[in-house]
């Protein structure tokens, strides 16, 4: 199949502009997504005080009372122990709309606020979310649509020689050819993965908007019905106005497990506490069934089963949503699948950034223009800067005192990122460009286990004593990431020395950036 010249030019323009306009943010989202896949493991690793689960599971109700400390909230949310977290996480709304979060140690009953936000920061960065700026996830959804557009137009412009891209990679040719081949090979080979994350990401990001738009024409503006159709029932049950005493959390969890045999609860949410119509939503999974994650909704006062979405999908929306979330976050196949996804995310980052380099080399004649100069500097400063910033985030977690750790992590991450961006905006070849950036990041990632061994009781080198698999996984993963970055730096350095064009040298880290003296 061959496109007409007009169609080819249009698709080419759309592919180029959609890509270059969104590349840097998409790269950051995908990079953070690779870490977000290991959110459970990182959540456990980030809390430095070792916590061990008691041999016998303890009742949770007294621990919840301890955590609340006399507070009587109308809503309550619990993240249950397990999945690498041997503590109970309790959330409830305080004054001013903010939620209070605290952790209860299962063995000692000690109550302490969380000291770190490393895992959640990377998770939120993946979809540009913050509780005070939740519209960020709509932006993320729109960016996913742009990625989808770039992918479809990319396939269309290469459709005539798609088969050749399956094996054409020529590292011995010029840097321009190398990037072009790398972009096309990784784009074509990774297409199923990239299409999947773009489509599911767009659905996840824009679900809220779609819900608001479709509730009008389809359900007469009933937002509650629309929400139930998409997410399942029970979320928007209304209070009756009559008082009622909710069952304790242990009994509610037991009722949910009795209602769906084999059910493994992970979260519990209580709404309208104190009201006769209070509901308990127990969210969890049913092992052995693909994407069987859902909720059991109970009347919190009488423990009556109201609905469940584990053994059956009550609406097509819930069924689709289950696949969308399951595919996007690799909720199948266990740890190895998430490692495979993380590697594919790294390849996607390379595909995205190489697109920017192709854009620049194709405009070599106009490379000195302000726009292209800025793009070249932003690609290394912002796109590359997120790598050492993430390494610095891990350092901040291990070095900052508990009382100031959360703030230190955020300031360090965004501070280092801004500094690197400013450094490369001022002088794009600073510190060896990409090579220096990758080497510094590699050393910083690989050194995290050493920092852990100095400041914490559970680290890679005393695994026999604490036996925490997530510590082994996270710290070994960071060392391997460091080694991979070192190898990449060596490859980039080798290519950079052979690059003749100034833009090529700039992007690869050699001297002589666009429009600057070497």
């Amino acid at each position: 199949m061959k496109l007409s010249r007009h169609a080819f030019t249009r698709f080419w323009d759309v592919h180029g502009w959609a890509g270059v306009a969104t590349a840097l943010v998409l790269h950051v989202m995908v990079f953070a997504g690779a870490f977000a896949l290991f959110r459970d493991e990182l959540s456990s690793w980030q809390e430095r005080a070792p916590r061990t689960a008691p041999a016998q599971p303890a009742p949770l109700a007294p621990l919840v009372d301890r955590a609340l400390g006399g507070a009587q909230p109308r809503e309550l949310s619990l993240a249950l122990p397990g999945h690498g977290a041997p503590y109970l996480e309790v959330h409830w709304p305080g004054g001013g709309g903010d939620w209070t979060e605290t952790h209860v140690d299962l063995a000692t009953g000690a109550v302490a606020p969380p000291t770190s936000q490393l895992a959640v920061l990377l998770y939120w960065l993946h979809f540009l979310y913050h509780p005070r700026a939740s519209w960020g996830m709509y932006v993320a959804g729109l960016l996913a649509v742009a990625l989808l557009l770039a992918l479809v137009t990319g396939v269309l412009i290469h459709i005539k020689d798609l088969a050749r891209q399956l094996h054409q990679f020529r590292p011995g040719k010029t840097v321009k050819v190398l990037w072009s081949d790398l972009h096309k090979v990784l784009g074509v080979m990774g297409l199923p993965f990239q299409l999947m994350i773009a489509f599911t990401g767009a659905v996840l990001g824009l679900a809220g908007v779609l819900l608001a738009l479709l509730s009008g024409p389809a359900l007469g503006g009933d937002q509650a019905a629309a929400s139930a159709a998409l997410w399942g029932g029970g979320r928007d049950a209304r209070p009756s106005g009559r008082p009622g005493r909710a069952l304790d959390v242990d009994r509610l969890i037991a009722r949910a497990q009795a209602a769906v045999p084999g059910f493994q609860p992970r979260f519990l949410g209580l709404r309208h506490i104190g009201d006769a119509a209070a509901t308990a939503t127990v969210w969890g999974e049913l092992p052995g069934r693909l994407f069987a994650r859902g909720e059991v909704v109970l009347g919190a006062v009488d423990g009556r089963l109201l609905s469940e979405s584990l053994t059956r999908a009550p609406t097509p929306g819930v069924a689709i949503g289950r696949w969308v979330v399951g595919l996007h976050y690799a909720l199948y196949g266990g740890l190895v699948t998430r490692v495979v996804y993380a590697l594919l995310a790294a390849a996607t980052c390379l595909t995205i950034l190489s697109g920017n380099w192709i854009w620049l080399t194709r405009r070599e004649g106009r490379a000195a223009s302000a726009g292209n100069r800025l793009l070249a500097k932003l690609t290394i400063g912002v796109g590359g800067g997120v790598v050492p910033a993430t390494a610095a985030l891990f350092w901040a977690n291990r070095l900052a005192p508990a009382s100031a750790r959360q703030a230190a992590e955020a300031w360090t991450f965004f501070g280092v990122w801004a500094l690197v961006a400013l450094l490369f905006l001022a002088r794009a070849s600073s510190r060896g460009g990409w090579v220096g950036l990758l080497r510094a990041s590699a050393v910083a990632f690989a050194a995290v286990p050493l920092l852990s061994s100095v400041g914490t009781d559970a680290h890679l080198f005393n695994l026999g004593r604490h036996g925490r698999a997530e510590v082994l996984g996270v710290e070994l993963g960071l060392v391997l990431l460091g080694l991979a970055l070192l190898v990449t730096a060596a490859l980039v350095r080798r290519r950079g020395q052979r690059a003749a064009a100034p833009v090529a040298r700039l992007a690869l880290g050699g001297p002589g950036p666009v429009g600057e003296k070497a």
Binding site: L182, G333, L335
Partner: protein, 117 residues
Amino acid sequence: MRLVLVQAEALLLTYAGFALAQAVARGQPLAIRLGAGAACARALLRLAALGLLGLACGVLARERGWADGGLFALAGLVLVASAFVPLAPVAPRMVWGLALAATPLAAAAGLAARWAT
């Protein structure tokens, strides 16, 4: 542990299958030598490559069911392809050496999975 071993077995079989398909497409010396034996040898080699990919899917399906196994096999194939094509010209000894070793390694992983709990 058992699941990890089965997934390693599937990934290695996928690697072997993809490498064999690439060897036939690129005209690797070993594939040419094997292909010279008979008129239908190239077609048989392609069939063998497909068989290895199918086997990778099959061992996963036996462990986790067809949907779960199929999704992992697809993700594995995408990863293997994304790594193989750019690495083959850069580090040919490593890439083709692993291709030769992949099937015996997969068999070893499969045997280990039988004993693992």
